[in-house]
Symmetry: C2
Subunit: 500 residues, 2 copies
């Protein structure tokens, strides 16, 4: 009775924390899609308040006391049960949070909000020097953050843990070291190849792209009463609840790139939509990690959205919408074009092969920064060197180099690796789905996505955040992270003379 009471009290508090964060997420969505621009200042106060309240509730000594009270019971519970998972997660989050003094938390939030305009201005004027003071401050605070914790194998472990819980830097390094030479070789091989993708740029009216976005999301499967799609500068996905999914995409009048952004965000949205309703009001009902989230978006974007079977089904529809642009382009040429490998400057526009190198470059620089092996002022130079070495690309200025991503301004060191970890996991998950579903390619060729959606729901989404990301992956695929399926997939798809 006593224990049931403690568990009920803990659950109640975790529910509040989860909901405050969900509301905060909605405020961010609103800010990026709907808010009149002058609302920025007050919006910062509002999201700040919600996060502070959630943080205060998490570090409340009463949570520690309840967790103490529940310690004996935790061992007697089935570790797979919701209750055990909830206590486990609460303990983990509480113990992490209480290590960080509230003043440091506040200072980090303030530094991030001050770094944001500094980064924007630096990027607009392509001047890393303007961003440098804000970056120095951010990194100094991150160092102090790392020092709040017991020493790990490497300081970067602490940072990584915030985005990919319980993943170690050494493990990431092992995986990336395995990937790197293969990607470099593949990039070199693809470079020789001539692929005509000129028809992908041209006159692609936005209203027709909007119709297309709705059509593809409907085809994959969604409940129209529970989703919405809006245009933004940078596509993202957000969920105020499992039945309130909001994805965005970016429409350009001169390309159909929006389609791949929509498909990518659909993957994120589907994960949030299929989280288990039973625990959707609790932190264990959230997504497992940034990496696992990315595995879902990359799976839909690449394994489905850039595959021949999908386009066998969907290309006639696309061509019907854009007859002037694609009427003369046959299926194989189109699929080759959307899979062209072409080293370029900007990560978010990179193809499947070069994408990994963009991430590895950032991971390596973050290592150097955190371990003090590089002076911050030398970052642009180091960036350019690596871009040349890995992709043979010359960086013309800071805006197209070291300043391109928002992450560092927000203090998000340890975030980048999850993009590639997610991509690696996406292929493992895809292969597992394929084994179970047997004729997945044929289903997709017939435009049937229900079985894939349900398989992902049952094997990935249903776990929420009950387990570590790696345990979630193991339950879905039978294995923890493994680069081999990903590399085999890339070799199969891009090693052949004509990709398809």
């Amino acid at each position: 009775m006593h224990v049931a009471d403690a568990l009920a009290k803990l659950t109640y508090r975790l529910e509040e924390i989860h909901e405050l964060e969900a509301i905060s997420g909605l405020l961010v969505w609103d800010q990026r899609t709907m808010m009149p621009p002058a609302g920025t200042r007050i919006r910062g106060r509002h999201t700040g308040l919600l996060r502070r309240l959630a943080h205060e509730k998490l570090i409340d000594p009463e949570v520690g006391r309840l967790l103490e009270e529940l310690r004996p019971v935790e061992e007697s519970l089935d570790p797979d049960s919701d209750e055990a998972a909830l206590i486990r997660l609460a303990r983990r989050e509480h113990e992490k949070a209480v290590r960080v003094p509230p003043e440091l938390t506040a200072e980090m939030a303030r530094a991030a909000s001050e770094a944001a305009p500094a980064w924007l201005e630096a990027k607009a004027t392509s001047s890393f020097a303007r961003f440098l003071p804000a970056l120095e401050r951010t990194i100094e605070l991150r160092r102090r953050y790392v020092e709040c914790f017991e020493p790990r194998e490497e300081p970067y472990d602490v940072l990584l843990d915030d985005f990919e819980p319980e993943m170690r830097t050494a493990e990431v390094r092992r995986i990336f070291d395995e990937i790197k030479p293969e990607l470099v070789a593949l990039v070199a091989a693809c470079r020789e190849r001539e692929v005509d993708d000129s028809f992908l740029t041209g006159n692609y009216p936005i209203d027709r792209q909007e119709t297309l976005a709705k059509e593809v999301v409907e085809l994959f499967g969604h409940r129209p009463d529970a989703w919405r799609i809006d245009p933004t500068e940078h596509p993202f996905a957000s969920a105020a609840g499992i039945d309130d999914i909001r994805i965005t995409t970016h429409y350009s009048p001169s390309s159909i790139d929006s389609l791949f952004a929509t498909i990518h965000e659909y993957g994120h949205g589907l994960y949030e939509h299929q989280l288990p309703e039973r625990i959707a009001h609790l932190p264990i009902g959230e997504a497992a990690s940034h990496g696992v989230h990315e595995s879902q978006s990359r799976l839909w974007e690449n394994l489905v959205g850039r595959s021949l079977p999908f386009w066998r089904f969907f290309y006639p529809r696309l061509r019907e919408r854009f007859p002037e642009q694609l009427g003369q382009v046959e299926l194989e040429r189109f699929v080759a074009a959307i899979n062209v490998v072409r080293p370029s400057l900007i990560r978010i526009h990179a193809d499947e092969v070069t994408y990994g190198m963009h991430v590895i470059l950032r991971f390596e620089l973050e290592q150097d920064i955190v371990n003090g092996r590089i002076e911050l002022r030398d970052l642009p130079e180091a960036w350019s060197q690596k871009m040349w070495e890995y992709l043979g690309v010359e960086v013309p200025d800071d805006a197209h180099g070291v300043l391109q991503d928002v992450h560092w301004s927000a203090g998000h060191f340890g975030y980048f690796p999850t993009y590639l970890l997610g991509t690696v996991m996406s292929v493992q998950i895809w292969e597992a789905a394929r084994r179970d579903l047997r004729d997945l390619d044929e289903q997709i060729e017939r435009g049937e996505f229900g079985p894939l959606r349900e398989w992902l729901g049952e094997h990935v989404h249903a776990h929420g955040r009950k387990f570590t990301p790696q345990e979630t992956l193991r339950r879905a695929t039978g294995s923890t992270i493994d680069a081999r399926p990903y590399l085999a997939y890339l070799r199969r798809k891009f090693g052949a003379p004509i990709p398809a």
Copy 2:
């Protein structure tokens, strides 16, 4: 030093309360404009959480302690100062809130959320009997709510106070008793009059109405980076902050009614936009009351938006947008048509003259309910009788009678009178602006709204919620509420044979 500390602590807490309520308001806006419908359930939890947190912060014994500590200082402060106003308001709100047991607050919230679908269903099927159990429950809870407070002159005083602070029922009755016979006589006089307003219904394409809504708001004056307008079933105004104003309007393809809804909501929006920035993060920086808010919307809708000077300026523009519909209609005919007095069933569609009678009817019935002078099951009958008596209108069914408004389902007894109080005040404020600005009519005829906007900002909006509504009105106009200017205005405008 000690006192400064107590004041800072109190301020901090009030700031949190204000911001939680602002966030809650944004969630309501989102729900009515953007949210996928399936998000309703979780949204209810989110707004419920924010309101509970705000309430918990308000009733926190520490607030009581701080107020005790500040009691001696309060008397030494200039009563017009922000500090004195803040302490005064905090004391008032805290003392009211602590009188209500949390269980009753929770029960009222639950009853309201259960009554909402019951009311919708009852209205859809036009069956008051279906709504009756929910209404009985709501009223029982309101009685218990009233009992939480020291006895006032009348129990209804307690309810009224939540919408129009420190206004007494006897005062409302006195004003309404003064208004009622005049309105009844005016309605009877107008009934004789034949006015052709057939051209106001017809083909009014929505896209042109949307352009018009933007045009009129721009003409009145707004910062486009701080406002937005969206379509909703029921128009409303909302503000997440003084620079984040969101109004909505309802477009029908067969009338230009949306224009008046837009102008009405502009008045609400302008109030929120011109609240003093200095205290905008605090409860004293909110609007003074429901009544004062309504005075602003009614001022713009009626005193500006249905006036001859305004249309002298704006009619050519309107006619240009709708040449097929209005090309043959001269200015005077148009202005007569938008001012037609025609008794009808639905309050929100009522003209300036009959509107007051709709409110008085509701106020009288609420009195009868609260004082136990009527059986709830007899409400539809009582409603019909009064409609016939006051407006000569026959009520065909409950949906067009007693079930038309949402307020009772939400437990909002005491809200209705503020609509008419606001309307009365709007004329007092208008006359004061006119005295100060001298050539207000001519300004409006020239399309100049800056002086009026600034006058309202300085004399009404600048006070925020520092004073009682009546004190706010007195500072703006030199007088507390007075029905005479309103009645004189109605007689001037509608007593003449052709209204203009």
